[in-house]
Each structure stands twice: as structure tokens, then as C-alpha cells.
């Protein structure tokens, strides 16, 4: 049974999706999708345990029994297992959110369609995370994208339609760029299997085609990841999608794209090409820093809470890509990889906090009927538990010690200092201060401004509070138990670096 866990991760949501269409009843569908997500969480947990016992080796699963050169292979190492756990974890919390309440998941009476798209989106994300085949990544990417366009268009405002349309155009251009890139790689190496590609690329590494292929792939993934100049689709898509969708996509879709970027950099093209030959870090670092500031500053000026945190996501993605650039290398020798660990651990931490924040906003929309910050007066008194969760998530976004946000920033600053980038370390701290401003905006309106009419308590239903507080508990727990996530992220970083041809020794922590 446990040997089939990798394929079950993809197959479970894929089969669960059409069954949603048969169930039709809203509550039944919600329970069914939740069960599917929980099953996947169990599989992901099993895989993580299995991978950690393998000591740097990876699980290789021949899909359908077709061995590697012919068939498609699923390949899981520490990095995938971590990403898979994040996706299933977020899905397990977001799917049962508001279990007994309708109206949260798309238009009334269309809940079975909503959850079918939700499960397909999850299936695609799982597929991207576990597959070892380059073309397969494209196919799953399109499954994810197509279902997320549909999900975003189910937002209550008609602007959701235009947001979905713009995302569709941008996403398809990105997806097609990835396809062109894969085509060039295939023309160079004659294989689609990532391990084989990595083996054969060094012999053609000086060909201009390699650089073109890399350019197309990075640009395509960059659009999906929303790195600095390519983020235009994100604010509208996040603000107009149903809150549940935003919570899920913010926690998973960009994270998986970040994982694909890591795979591309380390497992496929290798450190010698990316860092020593092309010097990608010299371009990516300024872009990440600009993203951190532009995202945070734009967030400060928003009046819509969802849009505010959408811009904050762009800043947080900046932290993650910054982690890659902070890798301290001497040729192929790794001197320090704390920055990369920070990037990977931020993947987990940001998923927890952002999903939590968007779920909190979903509660506010459900009870107070507004996403405009100015209308959230008395939020703290009307919904004290929700507000308390918001404070925890807000502190975590800022990076206050004792929350997960601190852990990733700590690693990033360590990496920056070890690499001698003192200015970057200072900028990381400075951009955290900007986060204080935009989180404070909501706290100020919610806690210090009282509405003129008498305040009645309208706490969010328990089925909404439990998922939120699970995430917040995780945000505090992993803020103290840093060796858990930090340890896994470090193993993941080490695995990626080894795959990228790095040499360890001397100077590593």
C-alpha cells in the first residue's frame, strides 16, 4: 500500500472530483471533498516519513508499471515531500472551512461544481509536485490553471469574470512559454525525464539553445509565481475570487510554482549553469528586493482587505525568491545555504499565515458583509476570536519572534549576513516594518474605532473558527518548534543542492 502513496496523491482528488458532481447536495459534497483532502494528507505524511528514512535518496514510482525511459515517473525527495505536505495540509483546513454553511463556496446551488474544480485544482498541484517528467509538469500546470480560472470566475462580483479572464490570458502565455522551453530542452537532450535531462544537459550546456530554453522556462514559471514584474494578474484574481479560493490559491498555487522554479534551477539546469555561468542571482536579487518593497508599499495604500493581502503576497514571494539569491557559493562549493533554507521554510510559513488571513477575511465577509477596511469598525468586539486570530496572523506576517514569520526571516538574515550582504539583511528588516503599517491599518479600524450603532456579538461559526485556529496554532507552534520545519527545509535545501551538483564541506552550519 505505502509504495502506491505517490500515485494515490494524484488519483484520489482526480477520482473524488467527478463523484462531487454525482453527489450534488451541498453539505454532502463538502464532507466528501474534505475526506478526500484528509486522505491525501495521510498519504503525504506517510511519504514524508518514508523519504526521511531514505537518507537523501528519492522514492521513484513508475506510473502504470512502465519503467523509466518509456513511462512517466513520479519522483519524490525531501523537497517534494515537504511541498506535498503543505498543499494537502492547506487543503485539509480550507475544504472543511464553514462545513455547515452554504454561500461560501461559489454561487448557491453550484457547490458541487465548485468543489469538483477545487479537487481538480488540488490534483494538478499534487501532480506538479510529485512528477519527475518535464512534460507532465506542463499538463498538471494546465489542469491547475484551468480549474483555478473557473474557481476565480465564481466570485460574487462581476469583476471576478474580468479577473479570471486576465489571469487566463497571462496564465496561458506563461504555460505556453513553459511548453516552448520544454520543447527546446527535448530538442537538446531527447528526453523528458528530469533526471535524464540533468544527466545529458552538461554536454550541451554551452549551446545557445540551452540559454533560450532556460529563459522561456523561467519566464513561464515566473508568470505563474508572480515574481516582480510579472505579477499583474495576482491582485485582481485574489481580490475578486471567493474567499475560500483565495485562501487555497494563496497558500498553494504560488508555492508550487516556487517549487518548480527550485527544481528548474537546481535539479535540471544545475548550479554551475545558473549561478556561475548565467549569474541569475544578480538579476533575481534586485527583482526580489523591489518586490518586497513595491508589494508592501502598494499594500499600505489599499482600502480592500483582500487586495491588501494580495499585494502583501507579492512581497512575500519576494522573500522566497530572495532566498535562492542568498546562496553563498564558491564555484560549486557551498559555503552557506541558510538563505535557501529560509526561502523553503517561508514556503511553509507563508502558506499557513496567508491562508489563515484570507480565511479570517472570509469570516468577516460572512458576518459583517464587507471587505472594505474602513467599514470594519468594531471588528474586535463583534468577533473577538476571529480578531485574536487576525492579530496572531498579522504578527506572523510582520515576523515577530514566537511566530513562524520570524523563523523564515531569521534564516534569510543569517544567509544574507553569511554571504556578506549586509544591506540586504537591513532591507529585509526594513520591509518587515512596512508589514507593521498595513497590518496595523486593520487593527486600528477593528480595535480602536467603534461604530456608532450598539455593538452586538456576531462571532463566526465554530466550523470556521476551528480551521483558522488550527492554522494559527501551527503558526505559533512552529514559531517555537523551529527545528521541525527548519530541519525539514534544511534537508530539502541540501537535497536540491546535491542534485544541482554542489559540493559540501567547510563553512556549512
Amino acid at each position: 500500500m505505502i509504495t502506491h502513496f505517490p500515485s494515490l496523491l494524484i488519483v484520489t482528488p482526480l477520482i473524488a472530483a467527478p463523484i462531487c458532481l454525482l453527489l450534488r447536495n451541498g453539505t454532502l459534497v463538502r464532507i466528501w471533498a474534505t475526506l478526500a483532502a484528509w486522505a491525501c494528507l495521510y498519504f503525504a505524511w506517510g511519504i514524508l516519513g518514508q523519504v526521511q528514512g531514505l537518507d537523501g535518496e528519492s522514492i521513484r514510482y513508475a506510473m502504470g508499471g512502465w519503467e523509466m525511459p518509456l513511462g512517466i515517473e513520479l519522483k519524490i525527495d525531501a523537497a517534494n515531500a515537504f511541498v506535498v505536505l503543505i498543499i494537502t495540509g492547506i487543503a485539509s483546513v480550507v475544504f472543511p472551512f464553514g462545513l455547515g454553511h452554504s454561500g461560501l463556496s461559489g454561487p448557491e446551488g453550484k457547490e458541487h461544481l465548485f468543489y469538483a474544480a477545487f479537487l481538480l485544482c488540488m490534483c494538478g498541484l499534487m501532480g506538479i509536485a510529485v512528477t519527475g517528467d518535464a512534460f507532465n509538469v506542463f499538463v498538471f500546470l494546465e489542469i491547475t490553471s484551468l480549474s483555478s480560472y473557473a474557481l476565480i470566475s465564481m466570485g460574487s462580483s462581476r469583476r471576478a469574470l474580468m479577473a479570471a479572464y486576465s489571469y487566463l490570458i497571462m496564465g496561458t502565455i506563461g504555460g505556453t512559454f513553459i511548453l516552448v522551453g520544454i520543447g527546446f530542452v527535448y530538442a537538446l537532450t531527447g528526453t523528458l525525464n528530469m533526471v535524464d535531462i540533468a544527466e545529458r544537459l552538461p554536454s550541451v550546456i554551452n549551446s545557445p539553445t540551452t540559454i533560450i530554453a532556460f529563459g522561456f522556462l523561467t519566464l513561464g514559471v515566473g508568470i505563474k509565481l508572480a515574481i516582480f514584474p510579472l505579477y499583474q494578474w495576482l491582485p485582481n484574481a485574489y481580490s475578486f475570487a471567493p474567499s475560500k479560493v483565495t485562501a487555497f490559491l494563496a497558500g498553494t498555487a504560488t508555492k508550487v510554482s516556487y517549487y518548480v522554479l527550485l527544481r528548474l534551477f537546481f535539479s535540471i539546469f544545475g548550479i554551475a549553469f545558473i549561478f556561475n555561468k548565467l549569474g541569475v542571482q544578480n538579476i533575481l536579487m534586485p527583482l526580489s528586493l523591489i518586490a518586497m518593497f513595491v508589494g508592501s508599499i502598494a499594500a499600505i495604500y489599499q482600502t480592500n482587505a483582500k487586495r491588501l493581502f494580495a499585494y502583501s503576497s507579492i512581497a512575500q514571494i519576494g522573500y522566497m525568491t530572495l532566498g535562492i539569491c542568498l546562496l553563498h557559493l564558491d564555484g560549486l562549493k557551498v559555503l552557506n545555504y541558510d538563505g535557501l533554507t529560509g526561502g523553503i521554510v517561508h514556503l511553509f510559513n507563508h502558506a499557513i499565515m496567508k491562508s489563515g488571513l484570507f480565511l479570517i477575511i472570509a469570516c468577516v465577509v460572512y458576518r459583517m458583509g464587507t471587505v472594505t477596511i474602513g467599514e470594519m469598525k468594531g471588528f474586535a468586539y463583534r468577533m473577538p476570536w476571529t480578531f485574536a486570530a487576525f492579530v496572531v496572523a498579522g504578527l506572523s506576517i510582520i515576523g515577530v519572534p514566537g511566530t513562524v514569520g520570524f523563523v523564515s526571516k531569521w534564516y534569510l538574515v543569517l544567509g544574507a549576513v553569511a554571504g556578506g550582504h549586509y544591506v540586504v539583511a537591513a532591507l529585509i528588516l526594513l520591509s518587515s516594518l512596512l508589514a507593521v503599517v498595513y497590518v496595523w491599518k486593520i487593527i486600528e479600524v477593528g480595535y480602536f474605532q467603534k461604530p456608532s450603532e450598539p455593538i452586538e456579538k456576531i462571532e463566526a461559526p465554530i466550523t470556521m473558527l476551528v480551521p483558522i485556529w488550527l492554522l494559527m496554532f501551527a503558526a505559533i507552534f512552529f514559531g517555537f518548534a523551529t527545528e521541525l520545519t527548519g530541519g525539514v527545509a534544511e534537508t530539502a535545501a541540501k537535497t536540491l543542492l546535491t542534485a544541482g551538483g554542489a559540493i559540501f564541506g567547510g563553512g556549512t552550519p
Binding site: V139, L146, S153, L161, M162, Y165, T176, Y186, P235
Partner: protein, 132 residues
């Protein structure tokens, strides 16, 4: 088939020029047009260029369709040239993805037309006030 073999090698890259021209044409339409349907058409041209890129990549000069005919069973296949089927098969998937995307995009445009009464992006922007 013979005609293809007679193309001198110095023209051997012409299909890449076709692909690149179509790709840029498609991308230009997507960026420059305000009409939502026209942008989808641009997107389709863009995707079609990639399909042609793959198909051209798999084509071997003088190669036949890689079908296993009976006479090759007796060992005659060594002197026969086959095109590479893998890129062609990959494009079957890409075509399906393209159709799904187009269908979804058109469905969205129908809904946009229903709620805004127009499919010109600049007019929609005006109706909504300034987005972003």
C-alpha cells in the same frame, strides 16, 4: 515526400522562422487588442505556433509515419527512416489543453457580455471605474 528531401540544407531552418513569426503575431494580438474575442484568437495563434514547433522538431527528413508495418517484421526496417513520434504525441495533449483553454475563455466572455453588455476591455474598464 521526395520534394522535402530536395530542400537544400541552407533553408533547413525556415520552419523556425514560421514558428517565430506566428508566435510574435499571436502575442502582439493578445497585447494590442481590446476586444476579448480577438485576444483569444491571438492566444490560439500563439499556441498553434508552439504546436508547429514541436511537430517540425519531430519530423525527420524523408521519415515515414512511425507505424509498424508488417514487412518490417522481417528485418527490413534498418534502412527505413521514421519520424520521431514523441513530440507529435505530446502535441495531442497540448491541443486538448488549447481547446480547453479556448472553451473556458469563450465561456467567460459570454458571462462578461451578459453582465457588462460589451466585450471591449476599455469599455469594461470605464464601467468598473479604474481597476488597480
Amino acid at each position: 515526400m521526395i520534394a522535402l528531401n530536395e530542400i537544400p540544407t541552407e533553408y533547413g531552418l525556415w520552419h523556425y522562422w514560421v514558428v517565430v513569426s506566428l508566435m510574435m503575431l499571436g502575442l502582439y494580438i493578445v497585447i494590442a487588442r481590446d476586444n476579448l474575442i480577438k485576444r483569444i484568437m491571438g492566444l490560439n495563434i500563439f499556441q498553434a505556433s508552439v504546436i508547429m514547433f514541436y511537430v517540425a522538431m519531430g519530423k525527420v527528413q524523408g521519415g515515414e509515419a512511425p507505424i509498424w508495418p508488417l514487412d518490417t517484421m522481417e528485418g527490413h526496417y534498418q534502412d527505413r527512416v521514421f519520424s520521431n513520434p514523441v513530440p507529435h504525441v505530446l502535441m495531442l495533449t497540448a491541443i486538448v489543453v488549447g481547446i480547453a483553454t479556448t472553451a473556458l475563455a469563450l465561456a467567460l466572455v459570454v458571462r462578461i457580455k451578459e453582465s457588462y453588455g460589451t466585450i471591449e476591455e476599455d469599455e469594461i474598464r470605464e464601467i468598473d471605474g479604474s481597476i488597480s
